[in-house]
């Protein structure tokens, strides 16, 4: 075989390996969705969304779980956007770029994003539940998940700001803008797409988290709706876990149905992120 033939064979071989790996990942994901749909799809109706969990599998629903998920997500989103975006703005625009302290903070943010989520649960149990006596409440859950996804939002917001051309920042300064005015009138509106994408991806990570919430003591069986942010709660993944751990097969059908709802919510969040990205790409062309 000549050298160029060898290279072509190798090229073909690598292409094949890549395609097979991709197919494997996709097939597993598709069969999971299909399996959930076949087993749980029939269980989903209006009653499933409007009923509390019950000892009888046929009457059990996910009312407290989806309301809990929704409220926890709202609190998480509020806290994450507020703290995450501000932190990113500070790091990117106000801090001294080459200061060792800045470098240290940057390094630690990257480390934090790789930390196992259960450790955030332990941290929250110690600080929010025991020290601040917030209990296993919606607020504690929001704070915990917010801590968990903050690094994602900080990193993606900084990336979004950094991808803006610096000569436009200069133009803004040359027109007499302060740092804040430059952020407010030019940088934030232009980076909004990237920032929102990061926030939504962070939320879609938070929505499926179970471990830290179980650690802070979230209940698995709740037959009422929370009245304030200090009330106990449950969320979809915990309800799912609860049903799955029962011996009766009927509850496993409920678990599959709840899994389908959770999956749909996550995919919907991702879809929104993609739509925002497309919209922003269309409206801003450099």
């Amino acid at each position: 075989m000549t050298r160029s033939q060898k290279r072509k064979v190798f090229n073909f071989f690598m292409k094949l390996v890549g395609l097979l790996s991709l197919a494997l990942a996709l097939i597993v994901l598709l069969s999971l969705i299909l399996d959930l749909a076949i087993r749980g799809g029939g269980r989903i109706d209006m009653d499933f969304f409007t009923s509390f969990p019950s000892r009888r599998a046929g009457q059990a629903g996910i009312l407290s779980a989806w309301v809990g998920t929704l409220l926890v997500m709202l609190i998480t989103a509020f806290l994450t956007i507020l703290v995450g975006v501000s932190a990113a703005l500070y790091l990117e625009e106000y801090s001294k770029q080459n200061h060792p302290m800045t470098k240290l903070i940057e390094l630690n943010i990257l480390n934090l994003s790789a930390m196992p989520s259960i450790l955030y649960g332990l941290l929250a149990l110690g600080i929010f539940v025991h020290y601040f006596k917030l209990g296993a409440s919606l607020l504690t859950a929001g704070l915990t998940l917010s801590l968990l996804v903050l690094p994602i939002v900080i990193v993606s917001t900084r990336e979004a700001l950094r991808s803006l051309p610096s000569n436009l920042k200069e133009a803004s300064f040359a027109l007499g803008a302060t740092r804040f005015q430059t952020l407010y009138y030019y940088q934030l509106p232009s980076a909004m797409g990237g920032i929102m994408t990061g926030v939504i991806l962070a939320l879609s990570r938070a929505i499926g988290e179970t471990a830290p919430l179980i650690t802070i003591g979230a209940l698995t069986y709740i037959a009422f709706l929370p009245q304030s942010i200090m009330d106990p709660f449950t969320v979809l993944p915990i309800q799912l876990f609860n049903w799955l751990s029962r011996p009766q097969a009927e509850f496993h059908v409920n678990a599959a149905a709840a899994g389908l709802v959770l999956l749909t919510l996550t995919l919907a969040l991702n879809l929104i992120a993609i739509l925002i990205r497309i919209r922003v790409r269309k409206s801003i062309k450099w």
Binding site: F173, T178, W286
Partner: protein, 256 residues
């Protein structure tokens, strides 16, 4: 003919970037409502000198400017420690080498500086935007699409938009940093024509490494070399009868 009054006095200006000296003892008077061209080969410090005038160098941590840049008739040293950079940039506008409109509508681009200064009245904003676009010679081409994205304009139109954006806040001095070096000859001619209109109300300082441009559209020309000011004079005189040997070598094309 009556001699024009001085708008800007640069006195003993030295500029350092880290330990490297970029400008060496520059002394220069800029005449009011004239076009002054700063000319010289790449790296001679002409852009640095220009950026000092609206304190853009303060955005770079390692840069330091020593000396005085006095704005008249206020008689204020722009490099003074008690001078607010925002105050300076309100009076000294700047247009950069590469057109850099914001990813906003034409109207919002020109209105940007006005909004920064808190102007909210819509009719007032519209009037000022139209005035600025007229001054920059762009109004006729874009008056029917002010709400369209500025990025849909051609490069030459974008640069005139940037000029309009700088003029909208009615500065006393307009700095142009090689405003046509990224443009085609027709767009360049457009902007050069507009300069005679602009200088009726504003003092213009323009950096160029294009000899012909300096000769064509400036009243005064300053020749710089390796951080030093070599010669300054009326453009007509400097190009026909240079006093310094180095100026002569440069304009006759012996180096550059």
């Amino acid at each position: 003919m009556v001699e024009n009054s001085t708008k800007l006095q640069i006195k003993n200006l030295n500029f350092f970037y880290n330990t490297q000296q970029v400008l060496k003892n520059i002394n220069l008077d800029i005449s009011e409502k004239k076009v002054t061209a700063l000319m010289g080969p790449s790296g001679c410090g002409k852009t640095t000198l220009l950026r000092c005038v609206n304190l853009m160098h303060e955005l770079v941590e390692e840069a330091e400017a020593l000396g005085e840049i006095v704005l008249q008739p206020q008689n204020i040293n722009l490099l003074g420690l008690d001078v607010d950079p925002l105050w300076v940039r309100e009076r000294v506008g700047m247009v950069f080498q590469k057109p850099n409109p914001f990813p906003k509508s034409l109207f919002e681009n020109v209105a940007y500086g006005l909004r920064l200064r808190g102007m909210k009245n819509q009719t007032e904003l519209s009037d000022r935007v139209e005035m600025a676009l007229n001054q920059a010679g762009l109004w006729g081409e874009v008056s029917d699409r002010l709400q369209k994205s500025a990025l849909a304009l051609s490069g030459g139109q974008q640069q005139r938009l940037c000029i309009a954006r700088a003029l909208a806040v009615q500065p006393e001095i307009l700095l142009l940093d090689e405003p046509t070096s990224a443009l085609d000859p027709i767009s360049t001619a457009h902007i050069e024509e507009q300069l005679s209109e602009i200088k009726k109300t504003v003092t213009v300082i323009m950096v160029t490494h294009n000899l012909h441009q300096a000769a064509r559209c400036s009243d005064d020309t300053v020749f710089m070399l390796a951080g030093e000011m070599i010669e300054k004079g009326k453009s007509q005189k400097l190009f026909t009868n240079p006093q310094d040997k180095r100026t002569e070598n440069y304009i006759t094309g012996r180096f550059g």
